[in-house]
């Protein structure tokens, strides 16, 4: 069994609970969207835990839908909701993301598996093996890329922008450092995907754990102190 996804799942669900509690206390659509994105993150890593015991078609598809397609997009949507306050643009983007998420659900649910599923190695990682098992059409791959670009840009970009503003104005040091950690944490899984594309190393599980820990610490820092 690979222990890293277990740790990632524990951290991510704790993080989800912390964000949801803050949403219950303070309100704010961005917190609800972040909590939803983190729930997807946790479901993705939980799928990795399951798949380290046994292969399951539904769990593989759940992993691809939550971990590979939707997590970054919904987390990024939370950040966009926080920063774009004028007009209804953020609300429109949320509805559009919901529609694309439903489309992704239908595409992944209907994607056939290849015969390679019988050779799935539970000692390996999903990220190393899913491409030979899950048949993904061009539209599915394209949607995955677009959702990830949108989400990564939204989450990392917003955190960087916020950290820069706090640094320039020299106010709220906790929020400045918190946003730096959130940006670094959000970038971690995205960079791991880049390493895979470059053919360097598949470090997705480690990057997910590092990402969850950094973002959790960053969130706690940013929401601590005077408000």
């Amino acid at each position: 069994m690979n222990f890293i996804p277990v740790l990632s799942t524990l951290v991510t669900f704790s993080f989800t609970y912390a964000v949801f509690r803050r949403y219950q206390k303070k309100g704010g659509t961005h917190l609800a969207l972040w909590a939803f994105g983190l729930l997807l993150y946790g479901l993705g890593t939980l799928s990795e835990v399951w798949m380290s015991f046994a292969f399951n078609e539904l769990v593989l598809k759940l992993w691809y839908l939550t971990g590979a397609m939707l997590t970054a997009a919904w987390l990024g949507q939370g950040s966009i909701q926080l920063l774009v306050r004028k007009g209804k643009l953020a609300q429109i983007l949320t509805y559009a993301l919901a529609a694309f998420s439903l489309l992704a659900l239908v595409m992944v649910a209907s994607a056939p598996l290849t015969g390679a599923q019988s050779t799935y190695n539970v000692a390996g990682t999903i990220s190393e093996q899913y491409k030979t098992i899950l048949t993904r059409g061009g539209l599915t791959i394209f949607l995955t890329i677009i959702l990830n670009i949108y989400g990564t840009l939204g989450l990392v970009g917003s955190a960087l922008y916020s950290a820069f503003l706090f640094w320039r104005k020299k106010v709220l040091a906790n929020r400045m450092f918190g946003n730096i950690l959130i940006a670094a944490g959000a970038l971690s899984p995205a960079l791991a995907g880049t390493f895979v594309k470059a053919g360097i190393v598949d470090a997705l599980y480690v990057s997910e754990f590092i990402g969850a820990v950094l973002m959790f610490i960053g969130f706690m820092m940013a929401t601590s102190g005077k408000e």
């Binding site: 840009l153 990392v156 950290a163 640094w167 020299k170 106010v171 880049t194 594309k197 470059a198």
Partner: protein
């Protein structure tokens, strides 16, 4: 007014230099992700 003042901080010399460097490094990482994604879409990355 005093609450506003208390939110301000005086960065140490190290923080003053380190923060912008970290921000730029993260920004470069973000750009690398997008460049590599673009190259992967074109099918010219080894692990795509």
């Amino acid at each position: 007014m005093s609450a506003k003042r208390s939110q301000r901080f005086n960065p140490s010399a190290l923080t003053e230099k380190l923060v912008p460097v970290i921000l730029v490094v993260i920004l470069l990482g973000l750009l690398a992700v997008f460049v590599m994604t673009g190259l992967a879409m074109l099918g010219i990355t080894p692990g795509a």
